[in-house]
């Protein structure tokens, strides 16, 4: 009854048209909370027919869980009435006829009449906006970079959790603060100017125009960053999103890459040096040796014994120097010319070496025995070189008896330990460190010829394979050389 009276109060054609023209669902409620009037947007938004709504309490449109408290708020608003959004900062929901909920924004305004105070509620479905917001937030959070959204005044409006992690501030410590909080102090003056000029002409671009940029953590420490800026058009005007990437790791990697490049270059230079040794240094040597020998041949009958001795020394010297140069070249190439590691069957390696040394074996009545050996990742050519040097040494430095050489291998978990045992003259252990040094010899050339490169090459090969090499020896009883090789390339 009362409702009808109220309706007649608002039966004015112009008022009703106005109501229909509104984009939102408009609901007119009387002091008791009963619905007096709705527009057709209300019908479609809540899926009720107009006659189902008129006269019902407005709580019909409020989800069950809020229903109990709603009348209290309603009455409260009746008393203090002013135009304002409802539920300040809270997430509000509407309830459809089918029981489904949807997020809403509601704006309230009082209408005072001779029949008392009415409230008009404009209800807007904000599901789409909420979704967009959530997507935006999701996007923000999923970005790998720290994202800082700033307004024209340089106040931080929004940050993602990466920002917290990277800068060491909590969100609360940043929102509403000046962006310069994140900028090293020495840029404190220039930064706001750049910021202002960016707002003059906002477009997606990298910040700093190729300069190295730095950011400041909460603890005051600085770190190198890359920053990309993009404008965001919002209801509050233009905001700017700064995507900030910590590039410390990248800079470190770059530095390492530069060092590696440098090392590669110096290795190449060393290689060049080795090549020079192999050719350019040998040319003049050949000229000396060749000319002296020609002198000897052509003028033999005109020279005396002493002259011939001089010539012999000159030729020997030049020849020896040449083998030193060749050995130096071989030594330098262990590092620079090594092959990539591939599974290498050491039974085959030892077989190849024994075949190669067949003549020396026969001449010295040597016996080479090999246990079952493993297959390991290695540079096969270098492994042959390694065994060849060690076994050839075992034959060369034989004792009074015919050489007996035993090749073995032991599984030590992460690596294999190989051994080459002989019954030769042995090595005085006081030379333990020196034997692996390039051109280090323990005997006169008359006793044992050679440049002293063999074990140095062995050590370099084993080093390159991340292994260790050493020996145990009893003078006049024999020597055992040991070396290890890891089972996998990664150590």
């Amino acid at each position: 009854m009362e409702n009808e009276k109220a309706q007649s109060l608002f039966a004015d054609e112009k008022f009703l048209r106005l109501l229909e023209a509104a984009p939102d669902a408009m609901i007119l409620v009387d002091h008791s909370g009963a619905i007096v009037l709705v527009n057709s947007q209300t019908e479609s938004l809540f899926s009720y027919k107009r006659h189902e709504l008129i006269g019902s309490k407005v709580e019909l449109l409020v989800p069950e869980r809020f229903r109990k408290n709603h009348p209290v708020h309603r009455v409260g608003y009746m008393e203090t009435a002013g135009v304002r959004p409802m539920g300040m900062g809270l997430n509000l929901f509407g309830l459809r006829a089918d029981g489904s909920e949807f997020p809403v924004e509601i704006s309230l305004s009082p209408i005072d009449t001779e029949e008392g105070r009415f409230i008009i509620a404009a209800v807007r479905d904000v599901a789409a906006r909420r979704q967009a917001e959530e997507m935006f937030r999701g996007l923000l959070e999923s970005a790998p970079d720290a994202m800082v959204i700033v307004d024209r005044l340089g106040k931080i409006r929004l940050v993602n959790s990466q920002t917290e992690a990277v800068f060491g501030y909590s969100r609360e410590e940043l929102i509403g603060e000046r962006l310069e909080k994140l900028v090293p102090e020495r840029y404190g003056e220039i930064h706001p100017k750049h910021r202002t000029s960016y707002f003059e002409e906002p477009r997606v671009r990298r910040m700093g125009g190729g300069l190295e940029l730095f950011a400041r953590r909460k603890d005051g420490s600085e770190f190198p960053v890359e920053i990309s800026l993009s404008p965001l058009e919002t209801e509050d005007g233009i905001l700017v999103n700064a995507a900030i990437r910590d590039v410390s790791e990248m800079r470190r990697t770059e530095a390492i890459a530069r060092m590696a490049e440098e090392l590669k270059r110096s290795n190449a230079e060393l290689e060049q040096f080795a090549y020079v040794a192999s050719h350019d240094l040998q040319e003049p040597l050949r000229a000396v040796a060749g000319s002296v020998q020609m002198l000897q041949l052509r003028y033999e009958d005109k020279l005396d014994e002493r002259a011939n001795e001089f010539i012999t020394h000159a030729v020997e010297g030049a020849t020896r120097m040449q083998s030193l140069l060749n050995d130096l070249l071989t030594y330098s190439r262990v590092g620079t010319r090594g092959q990539t590691f591939a599974p290498t069957d050491f039974n085959k390696v030892v077989k190849a070496v024994t075949d190669d040394l067949a003549v020396a074996v026969r001449e010295n009545n040597a016996v080479i025995r090999a246990a079952e050996l493993p297959t390991l990742p290695a540079d096969e050519v270098q492994m042959i070189q390694l065994f060849q040097n060690l076994i050839a040494n075992a034959i060369k430095f034989k004792g009074d008896n015919a050489p007996q050489i035993q090749v073995g291998a032991e599984d030590c978990g992460r690596h294999w330990q190989f051994s080459i045992e002989d019954n030769g003259i042995g090595i005085d252990v006081q030379y333990a460190d020196r034997v692996f040094v390039i051109f280090q010899r323990l005997h006169t050339r008359k006793e044992y010829p050679g440049t002293g490169i063999g074990l140095a090459i062995c050590k370099r090969i084993v080093d390159r394979h991340n292994g260790k090499i050493w020996f145990e020896s009893n003078e006049n009883k024999g020597t055992t050389f040991f070396f290890t090789l890891p089972k996998s390339e990664q150590v």
């Binding site: 040998q282 040319e283 050949r286 000229a287 000319s291 020998q293 020609m294 052509r298 030729v315 020849t319």
Partner: protein
């Protein structure tokens, strides 16, 4: 085949000591043989093309080629010779101090006829030269130049 002038070797060699040793070695040989020596690849091409001071040069039956030389080195010359319709049939013996595997591989890759590392002492060098001479100029039947 007609009986003709003694065979002609062109040695491309910038080391005068080596050039001298070659001459000396050939002197000791029973075979008669002529040798011409040029110092680098540029001169070698002038020689072969009978240009400049080599206007009256005779085409060689065999080329002894050093690898490392000024201006045009042995590899460059070898590549040019083996791409040349006329010169590619002349056997080229690379005679060098280099034992670098890349040098050996690249020489054969460029169709060197063989690769010989120069022995250090004169006696071995001399033997090598005479062996080359015996094989390439006596045992081998070469095409007409």
């Amino acid at each position: 085949m007609t009986l003709q002038k003694s065979p002609h070797i062109l040695q491309v060699e910038d080391s005068q000591a080596d050039a001298l040793m070659t001459r000396e070695a050939l002197q000791d040989s029973d075979m008669s043989c002529r040798i011409s020596i040029v110092e680098d690849g540029v001169e070698a091409l002038e020689f072969l093309n009978q240009r400049g001071k080599y206007k009256s040069s005779e085409p060689p039956d065999l080329i002894l080629l050093d690898l490392n030389m000024p201006r045009k080195n042995g590899r460059e010359l070898l590549a040019e010779l083996k791409a040349h319709p006329k010169f590619r049939s002349i056997p080229v013996i690379v005679l060098t101090t280099s034992r670098a595997v890349e040098d050996i591989a690249s020489a054969y890759d460029l169709h060197a006829n063989c690769y010989i590392i120069k022995p250090v002492d004169f006696l071995s060098y001399s033997e090598t030269i005479r062996a080359i001479q015996a094989f390439w100029l006596s045992i081998v039947t070469l095409g007409e130049q």
